[in-house]
Symmetry: C2
Subunit: 426 residues, 2 copies
């Protein structure tokens, strides 16, 4: 422990690490899986149960819960000017089907812990400070994810979100109405109110912080992502009778295209991530020359200009290398790379130094709700390490000391907004 961390003055502004951990473990029991993980789908009975728990904790601390039309959960520490744009911090409560105890929920519980700590000390900030749990970040029940933050930011309209259905045919509209019906007295906020700043704490979901033995990752931005659906059309034939020269083999065309893509896109530079994750062959019979191959490409890069060029090159390669088959490229996701607010990044680095934990800048390879907040207000993310870089898995794990440090950093960064940091550190 460093001298700074041992300072009694600093300790006066620490969150309650035990309570934070207890609450994380309490939420992990809602939707717990036999393998030690969590299955808490968006708008499910388990997510509703997690809201009941969150709201109970909020009310007992004198905080004010509310929601909005898309099913985001807000918890407010009231400010003196209730109409001024609030500061927002949070993440999401939903999980992957075989998810873990930290992904998403950590950022929400850390924000609640910060608000609870401030409320306990009688802090009345100049503006509201809000904890938020965004609806359906994971997108595993209703695809695609990030519905709550996208609706809040106006990236997707509410009607199209409400029309989305899960595998059982249940619409978001019905599931959302059920959520709201479960909390009939909850105040409704407008969708997309002005926000002064947004902060999100999250496990890294990668191995970098652990390998470098840093407790805090100062997230510089989220790399851009494009996805494409590609359909290669050939002609089916008998594997024993059709001469090679007469074939229009869709799988052979795929092989030629994919080899070029792995080489010319996947090795463009060290930052690029190129993945063909899903592929389907038709008719997929042992003695039949394939007539159709359908694939999904996931392409990421931190530099938007490079990402745009690679996306264009990818489409060109698919179309030019398909003959004698044909290839149809359909762009799906197009999420540009974003850089987080430099001042907030500096504040996070300073906070880590004051608390006495090692930090480093880090780029987020995975997408987060903060991507949609960044264009609206100064935004930033705080990463903490996760064991072996594992997330979206039942054995996902973060150390209690790291969990506490991330929340302490969040508290420290928020102090200037709550008025406590203005006249020098306490």
């Amino acid at each position: 422990m460093t001298a700074a961390a041992a300072s009694p003055v600093q300790d006066a502004w620490r969150i309650d690490a035990d309570r934070l951990w207890r609450r994380l473990m309490a939420l992990a029991r809602i939707g717990a899986t036999p393998g030690g993980g969590v299955d808490r789908q968006a708008l499910s009975a388990e997510e509703i149960a997690s809201w009941h728990t969150m709201i109970e904790w909020a009310l007992s601390a004198g905080l004010e819960p509310s929601t909005d039309a898309v099913g985001n959960l807000f918890i407010a520490l009231p400010g003196t000017d209730r109409d001024a744009p609030p500061v927002l911090a949070g993440s999401h409560l939903d999980s992957q089907p075989g998810g873990g105890r930290f992904d998403g929920v950590y950022g929400v519980v850390a924000a609640l812990e910060v608000l609870t700590t401030l409320a306990e000390r009688g802090v009345r900030p100049p503006t509201d400070v809000l904890c938020v749990a965004w609806m359906n970040e994971e997108g595993s029940r209703f695809a695609p994810g990030m519905m709550g933050s996208e609706a809040f930011a106006g990236v997707r309209d509410l009607a199209s979100i409400r029309a989305t259905r899960d595998a059982d045919g249940v619409s978001v509209a019905d599931a959302l109405d059920a959520l709201h019906a479960a909390f009939p007295t909850l105040r409704r906020r407008p969708l997309g109110f002005p926000v002064a700043a947004y902060l999100e704490a999250h496990i890294e979901q990668g191995p970098v912080l652990e390998a470098r033995q840093r407790t805090i990752g100062v997230v510089t931005g989220i790399q851009g992502k494009k996805t494409f659906d590609i359909v290669i059309e050939g002609e089916r034939g008998h594997a024993g009778t059709l001469a090679m020269a007469d074939r229009r083999d869709a799988l052979e065309a795929f092989t030629r295209i994919a080899a070029a893509l792995y080489e010319r896109i996947g090795r463009h530079d060290e930052a690029v991530k190129f993945t063909i994750g899903r592929l389907q062959v038709e008719p997929n019979a042992p003695s039949v020359v394939p007539e159709r191959v359908t694939l999904r490409i996931d392409l990421r890069h931190p530099d938007n200009a490079v990402l745009g060029q690679l996306g264009q090159r990818l489409a060109d390669l698919c179309e030019s290398l398909a003959a004698p088959c044909s290839a149809r490229v359909t762009p799906l996701v197009d999420a540009p790379s974003n850089g987080f607010d430099p001042a907030l990044q500096q504040a996070i680095a300073r906070a880590a130094a004051r608390i006495g934990v090692p930090h480093m800048p880090i780029l987020s390879a995975a997408g987060h709700d903060a991507r949609h907040m960044a264009p609206l207000c100064p935004s930033a993310m705080i990463f903490i390490p996760c064991r072996d870089g594992v997330s979206h898995a039942e054995h996902e794990w973060a150390e209690p000391a790291h969990v506490a440090a991330g929340a302490d950093v969040l508290l420290d960064v928020l102090l200037p907004w709550v008025g406590a940091g203005k006249d020098g550190r306490p």
Copy 2:
């Protein structure tokens, strides 16, 4: 019509084309599909019904039906020496699920027609002449196919055949016992008795005869076939976070391997047929680096030495190009190419000439029961054209004139065995 075909002497040894066609169409009603095709699975109620019809026709012509332990159906024109090795001609009665009116059944009905014609003329050959319907050539209900001829030739043992189950869990043993129970008085022949010669008439299942306007294909042999199951093992990872340099992407390894196989196996020469027909990616999720790719390769070549070399090269390429993944190659089918008996090929060509229809030599790309008879006795196949080269489809079609010509050729080729051809043509 040529002068030869118009000769009344030749006509004296023609089959009854109308009866042959009527019988083919009668069998097409057993298991008829709404789309005009046939679904008559091995050992099914439909195949049993087709046996009843065949046996009725046989008995009414004074022919002798019998069976064996694996469920092959034999119909004999008795010879003067009942113990001498008989001559055999036939094919199979089972069909693909969406099969047609000719594949298999034509060779059986043509052989029955030849026997009926001989019986009607009071021919008593020196040895038995047998029509055969082999059990489960198609392998669509019980896989793999050619069970009847493989058991007869000793290629597969009866116990392993009886243990095979269909998709509903019904064993060959149970289905076979039910077949035999349906014909309690049918004499049983030993499995794999000595045979003097084997002939099989079949639709081409390819476009060559039609394109070249030849009525009879003198089949030179069946190209060899090898199949392989290949499992490529890598490691799964997050498409957004795992650096390209750290990946063990099973689909990328597949692409590298497949590109080399298409190039170095698939383009070895004009005769090779190389197909990757079935492929499965795991976990097959859009944002996950694939950890496993499983594929089935179908490799065919008429030259056994070349087929053997290509099979070895294929396995070597898979294993040497897999790094940083691993590849496991499992050989499945290994059916060598066979050449048919040259004397019988000449006899077929001469018969076509006598009948006055154009003929040509042709290699069979597809497998047939004749493959398993060829090592046992002089064997040959007679192809007739099929429309657009289509088979294994409901709209499979052969012209009545071609159907008759193929049976006439079969009769003509058999004449020396039945004693009718010895002292010159009738």
